[in-house]
Symmetry: D5
Subunit: 117 residues, 10 copies
C-alpha cells in the first residue's frame, strides 16, 4: 500500500528556494490502530523541514494522514514510514518528524526521526 498512499501527497513550488528557511507543521489529530490489540492510538505529529524546490500541500498531507485511521501499525513504523514518504515526495534539504502518542497502560511514547540521518 505504501507507494499508492505516498502518491496522494501533493506539493507546490517553493518560491524562495534561494533561502534556507524552515516550515513547522503540527498535526494533533493523528489516529491509527494498534496492530496487536486493534485498539485506537492517538498522537500529535510535528514535521519540521527546510524545503528545497517543493513544499508539501497541507490539505493533501491531512488526507494522507487520515489513511492511517483504520490501519494497524506500530509507533516506530508510523514515524519512520511517514518520514520516508514525505522525504521521497517533498525532497527537502532537512526534515524531522516528532510523533508523540497518548498514554497506554500509564506509559507515553514519543518517536523522533531525522532526515538526513
Amino acid at each position: 500500500m505504501a507507494h499508492t498512499l505516498r502518491a496522494t501527497l501533493e506539493t507546490f513550488e517553493n518560491t524562495y528556494p534561494e533561502r534556507d528557511y524552515q516550515i513547522e507543521i503540527v498535526c494533533p489529530e493523528f489516529t491509527s490502530l494498534c496492530p496487536k490489540t486493534g485498539q485506537p492510538d492517538f498522537g500529535t505529529l510535528t514535521f519540521t523541514y527546510t524545503p528545497d524546490r517543493l513544499c508539501v500541500e497541507l490539505k493533501s498531507l491531512k488526507l494522507y494522514l487520515q489513511h492511517y485511521r483504520n490501519e494497524g501499525i506500530f509507533y516506530e513504523n508510523i514515524t519512520n514510514r511517514i518520514l520516508d514518504d514525505l522525504v521521497s515526495v517533498v525532497q527537502p534539504r532537512r526534515m524531522k518528524l516528532v510523533a508523540a502518542f497518548s498514554a497506554r497502560g500509564g506509559i507515553t511514547t514519543t518517536v523522533t526521526a531525522v532526515y538526513p540521518a
Copy 2:
C-alpha cells in the same frame, strides 16, 4: 504592490550602533486571506533583529502589517516577503522572522526565515 508597500516602513537612527544588541518585536494580531479559499488567516509574527544604523519604527510596522488584512497570500510567501521588506528598509546586521499561524483543518503551521541565510 511590494515596492510601494515597502516604502511605508519607517526607521529611526540607532543611537547605540557600536553595540551589537537585539530587539524582539511580537505582533500577535496579523491577519491576511487564504489565496485559495478567500478565508481569513490569523498569525503571530515575531521579529528578532540586531540593528546596524537603523531601527524600525513600531507604528509604521503596525500599519505596514495591516496592509495584508485583505490580501490573499500563502504562509510561506508572507514570511519571506515581509522579511525581505524589513531587511531592505532597516538593513539590520541580522534578522529572524517567526510566523506562527492558527490552526486550519486541525493543522498548525509556523514558518521561520533568517537573514543572512
Copy 3:
C-alpha cells in the same frame, strides 16, 4: 443501529446504592466523522452521574464509544444519543454529558445535555 449499539454497554451492580454519590468519567479520545464532509471530528466526552442500582463498566463504555469512529454524525446528535443510551442502560439518578469538540474553521463547539432535563 442505535439499539444494537446500546446493547454493547455493560453494567455492574452499585455496592453503595444507599449513598447518593457521583462518578465522573473523562474520555478524551472520542472521534467520529462529519456527516457533511466525511472529515474526522475529535472530542472529549465527560460523563458525570449518580448511580442508582447500576454502574457503567468502563471497558464496555470504551468499546461503545469506538463504534462512532467511522460513523457520520453531528455534534448535537452525538451528545444527545450517547446520553440517551447511557441513561437507558445504566438508569442513573442523574447524568450529565459534556462533549467538547476540537476546533473546525477556527470555531470550537461544546454540547452539554443533562438527565433528567
Copy 4:
C-alpha cells in the same frame, strides 16, 4: 445593512427539542475596525445557548462574523447587535454572548449580554 446581514445566518432543525440542552460556540478569530481610529480590533466571541426548534449552522455563523472584518463598530454595539441577530434567526430558549476584546492602550474590555434579559 443589519437585516441583510442577518439573513446570511442559516439554521438546521434541532432533533432533540424535548430536551433543554446547551450548545457553546467559541469564535476566537473575530475582527472588526474601531469606528474612531479605523484600527483593527480583535476578539473572542463565546455563544452559549439552549436551542428551541433551531440550531445555528456553524459555517454560516463563521461567514456572518467575517462580514464585520472591514466594518467600523464599537465593542458594545458588536455584542448587542450580534446577539440580537442570532436571537432573531435562531429563536433560542436562552442565549448568552461574551465578547472579549484584546488590549488597547493597556486596557482590556469584555462585554456580556444575555437573552432574555
Copy 5:
C-alpha cells in the same frame, strides 16, 4: 482634587439601555505612590458594570487613572474613591471594582468594592 479629577471622566450614550448587560474593563497598568514611604505601588483594576444611560469612554478612563501616578494614596482609598468617581459620572445600574496590588514585604492585597452596597 477629587471633584476636578472626576470631571475628566467622559461618557458616551448607551445605545442598548433596554438590555441589562455587563461591561468588564481590566486595567493592569495602574500605579500610584505609598503615602507612608513614597514608594511606587502597582496594581490591576477590574471594573465590572451594567450601564444605564451612559458608558465610560475608555481613553478618558485611562487618562483619569494616570492622574494617580504621582499621588500618595492607600489601597483602600484608591478602590473606594475610584468607585465613587465612576459611579458618580457613569451612574450605572451596578458596578464592582476589584483592585489587586502587587506584593509588598511578601504580602499581596486585593480590595473589592461594589455599588450599590
Copy 6:
C-alpha cells in the same frame, strides 16, 4: 479486613469544637490494585471535613491508606469504604471524599462521596 484496618486510624481532640471550620487533606500518592487485572491503580484522594470533637491524625491516615497498596479493589469501593472508615472513626459534622484516578485505556475516573448524604 475492614474493621481491623479502620482501627489503625488515630485521632486527636479538636481544640476549637465551638467553631464550624473545615480541614482539607490532599493525598496524591494513593495506589491500589485493579481486582480484575491485578495491575496497579494510582489516584489522588482529597478529604474535606468539618471536625466535631475529633480530628484525624495525618500520619495514621497515611499508614491507613498504604494498606491498600497491594489490595485489589474497585474505584467505587475505594471511595465509599474509605469515607465510611473515616466517618466512623472521626465522626465529623460533614465529610467529602474526592478520589481522582489516573487514566486507564485513555479514560479517567473520579468518584465523589459525601457524608451525610
Copy 7:
C-alpha cells in the same frame, strides 16, 4: 503568650465604613515549627475580611506572623488562633482565614475558618 502577641497587631481607621467592601490579604511566607518533630512547616495564609471601623495595618500583621517562626504549633491551632486574634483586634463584620500548608509525607493540608461561624 497569646494576649501579648495579639497586642502587637495595629489598626487604622476605615475611611469608608458606610460601604460593605472586602479586603483580601495573601501572606505566602508563613512558617512555624511542628510541635511533634520540631521540623519547620511552611504555608500561605489568606485573610478575606469586611472592615467595620478598623482595618489591619499590613506591617504589623507581617511582624505578628513572624512571631510564629520559632513556635511549635499544630495547623488547626495556627488557623483558629490567628483568626481569633485578628477578629479580636480588628472587629471586622466578617473574616475568613484559609491556611494552606506545604506537603508533609506526601500529604497537603488546608484549614479554613470563618467569623462569624
Copy 8:
C-alpha cells in the same frame, strides 16, 4: 534477583536499523519502597534511547517496573540498575534515564544516567 528480573524484559526487532532515530518512553507511575523507612516512594522514569537492532517491548517494560513496587531500593540505585538492565537487554546505541522522584521532607530528587558514559 537482578538477573532474573532483567530476563523479564522483552524486545522486538527494530525495522529501521539503518536510521539513527530516537524513542522516548515516559513512565509516571513508578513506585518502590524506601530501604530505610519502608515508606513508598513515587517517581516518573523517562527513557530516551536510539535503538540498534532491538526495541524494548512496552508491556514487558511496564511489568518489569512493577517488580520494584514492594522492593526497598535507593533513588541512585533504582536509576543505575534499571539503566543497566535496559542497556543489557536492548543494547541500544545510546540511552538516557531520568528518574524524577516526588518530594520527601520538602526535598525533591532527580537522578539522570546516560549510556555510554
Copy 9:
C-alpha cells in the same frame, strides 16, 4: 542627567571574587514615559551578571530605576543607557540586560543588550 543619576547606584564588595558566579536580578516594576506621546510605558528588566570586585546594592538599584518614572525615553535607549550605567559602576566581568515592555498597539517589544559586546 545621566552622570548624576549613575552616581546614585551603590555597590558592596564581592566576598567571593575568586569564583566566576552569576547573579540574576528581575525588576518587574519598571515604568517610564513615551517621549512621543507622554503615555506611561511598563516593563520588566532582567539583569544577569558575573561580579568582579563589586556587587550592585539592590535598594540603590530600585531607587535608581525609579528615577525613570517621569522621564520620556525610548525602549532602545532605556536598555542601553541602564546597561552602560550598571557596567560603569559595578564593573562586572559580564552583564546582560533584557528589557521586556508591555504591549502597545497590540505589539510587544523586548530589547537585549550584553557587555562586553
Copy 10:
C-alpha cells in the same frame, strides 16, 4: 561557625562511581534572615552534581539547611558558602547551586555558582 556546621553534612558511598551520572536536589523551603533588616528571606535551592565516591545524605542536607533559619546572611554568601560546604564534604566531580530568592521590594534575585569554576 562554618566548620562546625559543615560537619553536620553526612554522606553515603556512591555505588556506581564508574558512571558519570547526575543528581538534582531541589529544596524549596530554605529560609534565613536578612543581615540588614532582620526580616526573613525565603528561597529555593537547587543542587545539581555528579558524585565521585560520595553522595550527600538527604536528611542531613535538610538539617544542615535548617541551621540558616535564624542566621543573618546575604544572598551571595548563602550561595557561595553552601556550595563550598557541599563541595568540601561530598567532593563531587562537578556541582552547581542555583539559589532563587523570593521578591523583596518588587525585585527578585537568583544566584548561581558552579564547582569547579
